[in-house]
Amino acid sequence: MILSINNVEVTFRVGPWFNRQPILGVAGVSFDVAPGETFALVGESGSGKTTLANAINGLQSISNGDVTFLGERIDTTSQRNMKPLRQQMAMMFQDPVGSLSPRMRVGDLVAEPFHIHKIKANIKEETERLLSLVGLSGDFANRYPHQLSGGQARRVGVARAIALNPKLIIADEPTAGLDVSVQGEVLNLLNDLRERMDLAMIIITHNLHVVHHVADRMAVMYLGRIVELGETESMFRAPAHPYTAALLSANPEPDPDKAKERISLPAEVPSLLARPSGCEFHTRCPWVQSRCKSDQPFANGEVRNIACHYPLSPGDKLPVKQSSI
């Protein structure tokens, strides 16, 4: 395994200064990533994906658990020892323009990883090579980030991430804001690198169509926990956790007239300040039973991990809605 994370928790304190309260942004997450594997993290907006990525990468300190990368504990490593490890682990941030310093030109931004890690290389040549790899012509080197379109800024992020041939890329929404053709180019590029250099990838995305095509395994997050984890194909074919099923059924399709059978969830997202008892999804689950309100389910299963007392089987129909008069 190139990366193992075990029971990771991240705590934030929120609220006014006189009444700070702790919330768990990530509430005990474990998984491994193998060399060359593409692992997708999907789930509800606000479920802790970006926070988890930052915890793996050492940008966010963790309040519990451990993170092991290339055999070394990252969470306890000093900043100095972290540096060579960081060279092996590249990050593509969710906010493409915000993550680029506004005063640096594109060429310098792409060259920056070489300077930070004091790598000797023909920087001019490398910059040109990297920019053309991500489909930006040479004249972009002179531009400032605010002179780029959203998609162009994201491509600069890809160029920076692959600059030093990392072993693991953590890509937070790497294709958000890209048209489908450029999205294909970026994903194909990452896939080529994966094949050539055994690059492992954690890809965080809301684009389920992308996940379906590129990820070997996927994990679905809800309220800071993984509710289901398994092989991508089998999860798309037969989602077992009700939240996974609802998420996959929502996926908008590029067909204006297609009838969609969606599992609609109650709008009210639970509070992190007062997590629901029992199964934390029970407040929104269409299949909820009385046990779900009191006992917390834990992920189990060898190939597929499912945190649910009553996992769905293929063909399970939505329960008839009980009207609440």
Binding site: V14, G15, Q21, V42, G43, E44, S45, G46, S47, T50, Q94, D95, V97, G135, S137, D139, N142, R143, H146, Q147, S149, G150, G151, Q152, E173, A176, G177, L178, D179, V180, S181, V182, Q183, G184, E185, N188, N191, H206, N207, H209, V210, H212, H213, V214, E233, L247, L248, A250, N251, P252, E253, P254, D255, P256, D257, E268, V269, P270, L272, L273
Partner: protein, 318 residues
Amino acid sequence: MNILEIQNLNVTFDTEDGQLRALRDVSFNVPEHRIVGIVGESGCGKSTLINSILGLLADNGQVEKGKILFEGQNLTELNSSQLRELRGVRISTVFQDPMGALNPVISVGTQMLHIQYRSSLSKSEKLDNAAEMLRRVRIPDRESALTRYPHEFSGGMKQRIAIAMAMMMEPALLIADEPTTALDATLEVATIELLQDLQQQIGCSVLFISHHLGVIAELCDDVVVMYAGEVVERGTTRQIFYRPMHPYTERLLQCDPAGQSERTRHLPTIPGEIPDLRLRTPGCIFAARCHCREDICDSTPPEVEIEGQSARCHRLVA
């Protein structure tokens, strides 16, 4: 009636390497009570178009030619304070980068109070309004959320707060630049429904930019397709998705991974590079990458209209 008419809009940017033509002869309408989507490649000028409407072009950019008629008034002739007036009230916008719309050092609640400055409601009523909007975009812990700062929210939560703020204005025209990129599929669908509701309730029009063809298909009534600063095709959503006329539209739809039924690691792309916007030749803008290119494509393509759907392509007259 059209709430917005863009007529022959041309916008350029001055750069160190010469002048860049970001928009060229862009024309389309946003009719009253309709939701119009814009799709197109990354960098084709969608955000530039919005910034031109709002009078927020970067310093090195200028409208060279053309009209932007909003409720019959040409916006390119207004001064900056008149535009500011309009932006706050009649036109509200969800920008591509939600952090750009939110002030990082002011709490979300205070920002949501500020945008209601025109209203005569009491402070607590305004806060109730704000909390109600947050509920509609499904932000949990509303009371606590109002006291928090933007960085304490996830990417998608910031996006939803920006949507909530834009909707609170009850504008005549809502412009949304990729407002769902950080939203999961359930929220994306919820946002589509919310925008449709809002459109019904207050009868506004919506100009909606997205690369997510599924969202466009489900939300929009009409679609405008752009390529390298030009409008290459426009029509109703059904026309565009079921019977595209322009080869670029055809290719774009084929590249959507949602359309690939077999799982593949190698996703389809449109071969070739986007044209350099500094060197504009007279021919068809898409010719260099087009799968049905012919010699005639080096001359200006005609605009052909069939049943309200129109496209700029030589193939259509043959």
